[in-house]
């Protein structure tokens, strides 16, 4: 057990190290692709803390990305160095998650999910109508606020940190309580778990992480608009990645994010397929639900078990 954990820690450190030094030996285009995949990993793994571990499916996560992104743009335009705006964006996203968490967590199952769609859309509409935030056309970051290498390192290291956070939570008493809430909320309440506080806490943590990613998003693209960060399709993609990869696990959302990140990059290069991306994602979701509800990770495990069986029994 201990050696397994040591191996995991070594693996994560190796990946983090490789990503840190990647800018010195990889092409700019490859680095951009890696950045996109890292963003997808951050979004999917953060969502999975609430949606997977605690079983609360929210389709309103673009709101947190947008809050983080807008915080960074608005403060940077006032002259604040972008890096300093990141913690505040995370804090505001977490604060907003608490405010919407208390009323929406009174709802259970699909009712909660529907409410989060409403919240996400409401935030988009409000952002589009705020004149100081540029309205529907959005805002551009001030010139000279962009350093590619440090942004690349921040996003990829955040992705590695998220895997570590998810792993730590999944092994903690906090993680067990989240799992108890997911598997039987009444039993959890009856045994003394304050399920509302638990859900609000993990929601705030995951919102803060997505908010952080939002700030990096703004710095990377140098431009933020309601259409880019508050898009409903974005909220939907954030849900699809962990579900396709393997919801409620640590590795599943990472797998899903890598697949989606790759698909997105491939589809973006073919204009005809770009508009049908949602169609492809929908088909993927249906396939997962029908054939392997545990996602890609479940498929990998099943194939691996079959191989082992063949190795030991048939050989």
């Amino acid at each position: 057990m201990t050696s397994k954990r040591a191996l995991e820690a070594a693996g994560m450190l190796a990946v983090a190290g490789a990503l840190y030094f990647a800018p010195s030996f990889l092409e700019r285009g490859t680095l951009n692709d890696l950045w996109s995949v890292a963003l997808a990993v951050v979004l999917a793994s953060s969502w999975n803390l609430l949606g997977g571990f605690a079983g609360q499916v929210s389709i309103g996560y673009s709101a947190f990305l947008g809050i983080g992104a807008y915080t960074t743009v608005l403060l940077a335009l006032q002259g604040t160095p972008p890096v300093l705006t990141l913690p505040l964006g995370a804090l505001l996203a977490a604060g907003f998650s608490v405010i919407i968490g208390y009323p929406t967590f009174r709802l259970r199952g699909p009712y909660f999910t529907i409410a989060t769609i409403g919240v996400g859309e409401a935030v988009r509409v409000v952002a589009s109508s705020l004149s100081f935030a540029g309205g529907a056309s959005g805002l551009r970051m001030p010139a000279g606020s962009y350093d590619f290498e440090s942004n690349f390192r921040s996003m990829t290291l955040l992705a590695v940190a998220l895997v570590w956070i998810a792993l730590a939570i999944s092994r903690s008493a906090f993680g067990s309580a989240l799992s108890a809430v997911r598997q039987d909320i009444d039993a959890a309440e009856a045994l003394g778990v304050n399920s509302t506080r638990l859900k609000v806490t993990v929601h705030a943590l995951s919102a803060a992480l997505v908010g952080l990613a939002g700030g990096l998003f703004a710095i990377n693209f140098q431009y933020v608009s309601p259409g880019s960060v508050f898009d409903f399709r974005l909220s939907l993609t954030i849900v699809l990645m962990p579900i396709v990869g393997g919801v409620g696990t640590v590795a599943g959302p990472v797998l899903g994010a890598i697949l989606f990140g790759w698909l997105q990059l491939k589809l973006l290069s073919i204009p005809a397929l770009l508009s049908s991306s949602l169609f492809i994602y929908g088909a993927l979701l249906i396939a997962v639900m029908l054939f392997e509800p545990k996602g890609l990770l479940g498929l990998v495990r099943r194939l691996w078990a079959r191989r082992l069986r063949r190795f030991y029994i048939d050989a």
């Binding site: 008493a173 039987d184 009856a190 003394g192």
Partner: protein, 239 residues
Amino acid sequence: MSLLSVESLDVSYGNVQAVWDVSFRVEAGEILTLVGANGAGKTTLLKTVAGLLAPRRGRILFDGRDLVDRPAHTRTSDGLVLVPEARQLWPGMTVLENLEMGAWGKRARAESARTLAEVFAMFPVLEERHAQKAGTLSGGEQQMCAIGRGLMARPRLLLLDEPALGLSPRLVREVFASLSAIRKAGVTVLLVEQNVAHALALADHACVLETGRVTLAGRAQDLAGDPRVREEFLGVSGV
């Protein structure tokens, strides 16, 4: 003063009233059973006492303190613990994880190692299967795990919702024997049961619930001899 005192409780699901003006008391150290047919309101009553449902009217006094406005999870730390109907274990967790989650409250967690030893002593099969997923246990083992999980919260009053449901006669006897051991250990028990004969044989006091109302109450022994109970629930007619 009674440990638990339920006074004029009305509980409704929307417009449908399930419990009508129910009052009863549970004294410290006893086993009280609420018996009745399917749909009599037994589970509703127990869930209301545990805080999972809110009553429309009435009071629930635990140790003299009104619980009605206290959410379910805080009642656990007061010492009132529900073992829910159909076990409601967390199926994806191991037996040990289920038991450990039972000791979630601060007070219970501080004593969890000692309580765990007590639970394993009472249900040795749980120790044997501690690493197994709870969803893969047999019905009887799941029930023991559910009771064990409830005990991990160090209850003063244990609320049990039909622990004998779906168990073989031998397992029913085993589960009921464990309830009497739990009472001996100083835990008061409120038992909801459809298996009237067993429940009346075990309990000190009993209430008969019919369509949401208490129709009979008294010493369990007396109720077991009551002609109405014998005819209605024990299948003995023409006494």
